[in-house]
Symmetry: D2
Subunit: 141 residues, 4 copies
């Protein structure tokens, strides 16, 4: 199984970019996660880690409409390290998370939520959970 | 440490109720979680589990302003089973989650996010992460 | 999707019980989780929560051979509240976790690990990840 | 708080290395995580991601005694991306996880567990949960 699940809180550090992956809509952005530590009685920032967040299908559409640079969000999903090899250079690694759940972090602000009106989602889409190419499908044995 | 951490997706099944716990603001609501299964090729609902969600301090204020009955939300936090004993009756158990992170689920709708304006949060509050009575504090050894 | 995922650390509070659920082997035990808090400079125990842990298929066999009353274990899986209604009595609720990952907690002891010898696992079983009736199946879109 | 929590299942890809970080014992190893996908009815391996796992204090000792190259383990902890900048070369990134919980994966083998005998752990150590420099401390408000 070798599942690698991550839960992140952070700040959106780029605009959301839309693309089409073999007919599947994907929304992507960069997320900055800066842990805070209590060091000798004072809260201080640790080093920032950057992640590339991908949202697929129905989640992609809602992310494009809802998420903007500077927003505080949480993400839960599967993490992988994409490593790129180039001639004569050291490998370059990007942390990629395929989001299963994504939303604004109410620790950091307030939010007004609107469910999609009838007609924007087909019955089929509503019946099947939103998922990306690597999202789990549940099946009863 | 015996940590019991839970990640939930569900629907808010009650209005949000505010109270004061020894001077600490708490917002509470009931969350319904209904898993879906692929059974013989068809998506079907499993039985619904109900949880009591508590949000503390700054998170409590933002939950009161943002979360309403019928919203789709995501919660991450610590879970415990509160069991009540009554004379001559079987024990009654409530599942309680003290939220660390909470927000709307963008799989289920769209959201507009507003960060608090200057003046609504003191420097001290901003410096210290929002947490409840049972939320973790990070300390460098 | 309404996923409810839990991560638990605790002590095994019963012997492991084996049963057969429509031809699928299941191993079950009770897990006690007692959070610890730093209260006025002293570590104290919070109230204990009890969970019923189910392990399915190949994981069931290894749990039967490896896990004993009093062991410190870690469990990750899907949680649900099973509520039983009885005439004239209040509902009774049991917290049930179908384990996806389970093992001993090396914070609490040492462990020697043995992988199954060839022949005890068929190629088919090895190819397909161990899962219960409610465990996720991954599929590429 | 900007917490970045990860849950990993994988194979230990190096021997465990012990070191001393300002008087605190640390055990480290490399973990290989290879997701499996159901693609057109066949289970296939995705690309492998590598993580550096650190265990601190009491957990470090038990990891040194228990974990070996080739073992199947699970890890829960905090993740960060350590990026190294070098003159004239692209940045190099390592994924580092400070483990909060760590143990063998009973999906992949069997295990015999031994709790430490009296005398190997002082009362003070037993009272305070094992944690690294970045592990959470729980405090009641």
């Amino acid at each position: 199984m070798n599942e690698s699940t991550v839960t992140l809180q952070g700040w959106v550090g780029s605009e959301v970019r839309e693309r089409d992956a073999n007919g599947v809509p994907v929304a992507s952005f960069r997320l900055a996660c800066t842990p805070r530590y209590l060091k000798e009685g004072t809260w201080t920032d640790g080093p920032t880690s950057w992640f590339t967040i991908n949202a697929w299908r129905g989640l992609a559409h809602n992310v494009v409409e809802s998420v903007h640079k500077g927003d505080a969000v949480f993400v839960e999903g599967r993490i992988r390290a994409d490593t790129w090899q180039r001639d004569g250079l050291p490998d370059s690694t990007t942390l990629v998370v395929d989001a299963r759940v994504l939303g604004h972090d109410l620790n950091r602000g307030v939010c007004s939520f609107v469910r999609p009106v009838r007609g924007t989602v087909t019955e089929e889409q509503a019946a099947e959970p939103t998922r990306g190419p690597e999202q789990p499908v549940q099946e009863v044995a």
